[in-house]
């Protein structure tokens, strides 16, 4: 069968800008602006640079982990042990501190513990092929359990003064170290997921791991790396959080894993894998942080805030599904 003229297929059907305006992230941006505006009217304390800066502490540590968690969920896995890794890393830092270690060593110990925990998860899921949801429920108990064995109902306090800078210090004007770190990591993960071959492979695995394997992708290796990343981020978050609180209790960051997953799903990452973006997670982090802060200014108790977030989470997934039944577009 011969062709008279070669068929030319356009690269893109619509410009990236057009596509972006109809995306989930655009919706999130609209919600963010709405929340911001409502909050500014609701409380006179809202539009204050220092108050806003304080507000960022609400979400920076969670967001750091959320970036790595997002990539892992896109690849079709999940890590529910992240908060427990924080507990164990924090405990390890406390032990090192008690043994006389200085701040640089403490940081290394915290991050290193995170990596070791991540490696353990990686071995179980990518190495042995066990389902990540129950494996990480197990390691979640194991890691925090070890912290309880070490500390019981005691706490480590007395971290060196220089250590406090990570969680309490400022880099420039109102911008805290944690916030700057958050921005740097957002950029780094954004590039990793959206601009590198590694990120491309993550999406491929999440959409069809079998076809990805048949295309020469080393699926186990990619997944192992992703678990190492969630471990690493948990370690970094542990350094920040321990530094901010100035102490370590085995109960540190309890429940944070579910807040992280909420942030990721709110950010548009499908829990079934294969889709989602870092900008979406960033917006979700801001929204969650703003809501928490705004409600806080109005003296709304934390628990009521979480009702709002719970409803938001469900609504955010439900509405597109309900609308697509009526023929409107959305993945």
């Amino acid at each position: 069968m011969s062709i008279l003229t070669p068929r030319v297929i356009p690269d893109r059907l619509q410009s990236p800008l057009a596509r972006a305006t109809k995306s989930w992230e655009a919706l999130l941006l609209a919600v963010f602006i709405a929340v911001f505006v409502v909050n500014s009217f609701a409380s006179p304390y809202f539009l204050n640079a220092w108050n806003l800066s304080d507000a960022t502490f609400n979400f920076t540590e969670k967001a750091m982990i959320a970036f790595a968690m997002a990539m892992l969920i896109i690849a079709g896995e999940i890590d529910l042990s992240v908060a427990s890794i924080i507990a164990l890393a924090s405990t390890a830092m406390g032990l090192a501190m008690t043994a006389g270690a200085g701040t640089p060593v403490l940081v290394l110990v915290g991050i290193g513990t995170g990596l070791v925990c991540g490696a353990f998860n990686a071995w179980l899921v990518a190495g042995l092929g066990l389902p990540s949801i129950v494996v990480t429920i197990g390691t979640m108990s194991l890691f925090r359990g070890i912290s309880f064995i070490v500390l019981g109902d005691q706490a480590f306090t007395g971290y060196p003064e220089s250590f406090a800078w990570f969680g309490q210090g400022y880099v420039f004007w109102v911008f805290s170290f944690e916030f700057v770190l958050f921005v740097v990591l957002a950029l780094a993960y954004g590039i990793l997921l959206h601009r590198t071959s590694f990120g491309r492979r993550v999406y491929a695995i999440g959409n069809n791991a079998t076809a990805a394997a048949f295309s020469g992708i080393r699926v186990a290796r990619v997944k192992a790396t992703l678990f190492l990343l969630t471990g690493l981020m948990s370690g970094i978050a542990a350094v920040c959080l321990t530094s901010r609180l100035g102490s370590t209790r085995p109960s540190i960051a309890t429940g944070m894993e579910l807040e992280v997953v909420t942030m990721v799903v709110l950010g548009g990452v499908s829990i079934l894998g294969g889709s989602g973006t870092i900008p979406g997670v960033v917006l979700a982090a801001f929204i969650m942080g703003l809501v928490t802060f705004g409600f806080g200014l109005l003296n709304v108790p934390g628990i009521v805030m979480s009702i709002f977030l719970g409803i938001l989470l469900i609504a955010v997934i439900a509405l597109p599904r309900l609308f697509s039944r009526r023929g409107l577009s959305r993945k």
Partner: protein, 498 residues
């Protein structure tokens, strides 16, 4: 004798493919009708119409002379039609008895399920078909032969009038096959109508009373088995209209590129050895389940052979994973396009560049301009039909998805390209394009292996044909010996002309 089930003028189309055009089929009580035809002839489609899974676009279905419809699977079952497939559609974690009775279990006084009656009933049914199975065994612990028997027992529990058996002996041993024949005889004596689908002529002549032949989705003949010979059936199956033309081949066959020797696998294949030359198209023919895809996946590094050596351009090459195969220049276009070939959810250009990311990216960073350039080049070569290159590959037709998969592998600049059933389930237009393309590739010096179950394709495209059966190579044909009869006989284990 009046047929218990009669189909007339049944047609069924899918986007781009006409699977059935105006076929007819009659099933008589107490008789076995063999449905004969090549892959793609429409056999599995007609089974799905009979079991209510597909709705015919045209035509009538009559049960005992009365016209009826099967709008759902349950309706077909209620009319007494059941099927036993190659892969059993039952529940591994449940017991034999439960699999037989699920959905219509005997109840006791309070409406609760009566396990005792279930077990008893299961035992009775199993004995009546000569199966000595413990009704409490989990289905997961049974071999495929026993699973078939459970499926048959389930069919009987629904008091089926029509029992469809789709390649039931595909994975059975000789003893089990014999037992199945006796079972079929028993079902016949109970007055059931049996539709028996098989490639194996010895089976057809052993148990079938009648035959119906399909070819390319059309009905080509039927009659009594006692009045035909094997050759007649073969001729009906493979006889062709003159419409299908295959591209002219330049036949510039060069040096040996690939040599495989002594490839063995514990369960999938044994003693596999062959050579492949540049510019050659080597066809691999065989029945479903012969082990061809398994051999190719081992060559591609997806599975490990237990023994054997591969040489590429004379050098021994060990391939332990897909990326090593790709690096060695061997690529594999899978049979199962949806699961193994295309990544639905990703756009076309990302599918095309997936194995070539090291080449299109720089230091790990993506370069979209490069990716689009590469994609444009190969999709144009293959005449892809799509709205845009960033369109989700899942939205394309089967034929175009296949082009994307082939483009993906061509972009890696391979030496050896293995195509597994490359035109299965795609429309005539795309088929021809793929064939043209394969010829071009061979002419450019690539070495091509084509696994195919379609005789005209195998004969029209290949320079040589290797036939596999039950995990082994049983024949190799070239030149004048490449005839449909030889291929079909070798694949079925019959004697062949020299």
């Amino acid at each position: 004798m009046q047929p218990v089930l009669s189909l007339r003028g049944i047609s069924k189309s899918f986007p781009g493919v006409k699977a059935l055009s105006g076929v007819q089929l009659d099933l008589y009580p107490g008789q076995v009708t063999a449905l004969v035809g090549e892959n793609g002839a429409g056999k599995s489609t007609i089974v799905k119409v009979l079991t209510g899974i597909y709705q015919p676009d045209e035509g009538t279905i009559s049960v005992n002379g009365a016209e009826t419809r099967f709008p759902t699977a349950e309706a077909a079952a209620a009319a007494g039609v059941t099927a036993i497939h190659q892969e059993t559609v039952l529940f591994d974690e449940l017991s034999v008895a439960e699999n037989i009775w699920l959905g219509h279990a005997p109840r006791s006084r309070f409406g609760l399920i009566d396990w005792k009656a279930m077990r008893e009933g299961a035992r009775k049914l199993l004995t009546s078909i000569g199966a000595d199975l413990d009704p409490d065994l989990k289905l997961r612990d049974l071999g495929i032969a026993s699973k078939h028997l459970v499926a048959i027992a389930r069919a009987l529990s629904i008091d089926a009038r029509v029992v469809i058996m789709d390649e039931p002996t595909a994975s059975l041993s000789h003893k089990e096959i014999h037992e199945l024949y006796e079972l079929v005889d028993k079902l016949k004596s109970q007055g059931k109508a049996i539709l028996f689908i098989s490639h194996k002529f010895d089976e057809i002549f052993r148990i079938a009373d009648r035959y119906t032949v399909f070819r390319d989705g059309a009905f080509v003949g039927e009659g009594r088995v006692s009045e035909v010979t094997e050759s007649d059936l073969v001729r009906l199956m493979v006889g062709r209209s003159v419409d299908q033309i295959f591209p002219a081949r330049a036949h510039n066959i060069g040096d040996e590129v690939l040599t495989v020797a002594g490839y063995n696998h514990p369960t999938e294949f044994a003693d596999i050895g062959f050579t492949l030359r540049q510019g050659e198209i080597l066809g691999f023919y065989g029945l479903v389940g012969a082990g061809r895809s398994e051999v190719m996946q081992a060559l591609f590094g997806m599975t490990r052979p237990s023994k054997g050596a591969m040489r590429l351009d004379g050098q021994v090459r060990v391939v332990r994973s897909a990326d090593e195969a790709i690096a060695a220049g061997i690529v594999y276009v899978p049979e199962d396009r949806g699961r193994q070939g295309a990544v639905k959810g990703l756009p076309i250009f990302q599918n095309v560049t997936l194995p070539s990311l090291p080449a299109t990216s720089r230091n790990g960073f993506l370069r979209l301009a490069e990716e689009f350039r590469l994609t444009r080049h190969y999709t144009q070569r293959l005449d892809l039909r799509a709205a845009a290159l960033d369109q989700d590959v899942g939205l394309l037709s089967g034929g175009n998805q296949q082009k994307v998969v082939i483009a993906k592998w061509l972009a890696t600049k391979p030496r050896v390209i293995i195509l597994d059933e490359p035109t299965k389930g795609i429309d005539i237009g795309s088929k021809a394009a793929v064939h043209e393309f394969m010829a071009e590739l061979a002419a450019e010096g690539l070495a091509v292996i084509m696994v195919s179950s379609e005789i005209p394709e195998v004969l029209g495209m290949s320079d040589r044909v290797i036939v596999m059966r039950e995990g082994r190579i049983v024949a190799e044909y070239s030149g004048d010996a490449m005839t449909p009869e030889n291929l079909v006989r070798a694949a079925a284990g019959l004697e062949t002309a020299a």
